[in-house]
Amino acid sequence: MVKQLLGALVVVAALVGPLALETESTSIVQQPPLTATLSPLYVNPGGQVTVVALQACPQPMQVFWSLGPGALSGSAATGPDGKWTVRFPAPATVGSVPFFAHCAFSANANAAAMYQQLNFTVVAPVRPRYTG
């Protein structure tokens, strides 16, 4: 429950970062992007997508991820070195999909968040037969 609440707050902070910085009594600080690789770039509905960290979270914790803004899709534990991997099936809706990953940690007594957006594209798994 605590992890979920923390995750929700991290997602909120990442999505509304510039606004959050201006709110009263908040202790959330934005950090540089969290680098990672996502593959494949083009995938059929239901196909597996894998995201692998290039840059570790500063502290071993949970990585929270979402497809599109506004909803938490899942979380994954980082390794002892802070590295993480997320695997998930591509959504059924074709088109461009934004993947967001966020990791939370504390820095100088502040709660901090690193996040990244990586886009991939879901394409229908058939040959085109349009009029040309």
Partner: protein, 233 residues
């Protein structure tokens, strides 16, 4: 504590345009609404509140993509939605139950001017750019009307890529021109696609589809949500 509450309120406001409460669909939007099926079969009715559906549309569709509709109008309200349908004849509309779909707002629109042979890209009501296009031959004209993007395909072999370029955005409309209606064993569905023949751009060369430069279709494929309106005039 007040900060946390404020954050949650800000988050709700930020996501407010992107999410609808299940019990209240009365939301105005300056763009359009896309309805994506969240059930395996969507019943289509002839009018709001009709007792019997006139047809059922499956999701995923035969292409493997989730079934999407363009909502007719900018305001969505109550348990019923008027939608454009991806079926013959072109311009077909019907009513579906709001509970069968997930609603998402969309800022994008494409407009195609057949006379000028241009395609314009709009976001939030403003034209951001336009590009020359290839359109249907005189004997196989691109049909005018309001359509929407219903699927995204990526050609997987050299033969398909020669004709369609790197991507094809399938539209909700069809051609009925003889010679085009069963082109390549298909059903006459229209699309916006690329081409490996750049000389065809700006000319009347196709069987009804709209050809754009490959860099343009790549941009559109990675940008446009399914359900984006396409107005061909």
């Amino acid at each position: 504590m007040r900060g946390v509450l404020l954050l949650l309120v800000v988050a709700a406001l930020g996501a407010g345009g992107l999410a609808l409460r299940e019990d209240d669909h009365e939301v105005a939007w300056s763009g359009s609404w896309v309805a994506t099926a969240k059930v395996g079969e969507v019943a289509v009715y002839p009018s709001r509140g009709a007792a019997e559906p006139t047809s059922h549309l499956k999701s995923p569709t035969t292409s493997g993509a989730a079934l999407v509709f363009l909502v007719d109008g900018r305001k969505v309200r109550g348990e019923w939605l008027p939608v454009h349908l991806p079926v013959r004849p072109n311009g077909s509309t019907g009513w579906i139950r709001a509970a069968d779909v997930r609603l998402v707002p969309n800022d994008y629109r494409l407009t195609v001017d057949l006379g000028e042979r241009t395609l314009a890209f709009e976001r939030r009501g403003e034209v951001e750019w336009s590009t020359p296009i290839g359109v249907g031959k005189r004997a196989m004209p691109t049909p005018r009307g309001r359509y929407y993007v219903k699927e995204l395909l990526m050609p997987s072999d050299a033969d398909d890529e020669e004709l369609y370029g790197p991507f094809a955005l399938g539209l909700s409309g069809y051609t009925d021109s003889p010679g085009a209606v069963d082109f390549r064993g298909g059903d006459g569905a229209l699309a916006i696609h690329g081409t490996n023949d750049p000389s065809s751009i700006g000319r009347r060369v196709s069987h009804g589809c709209i050809r754009v430069p490959n860099d343009v279709i790549s941009f559109l494929a990675s940008t446009l949500p399914m359900g984006t309106p396409v107005d061909i005039t």
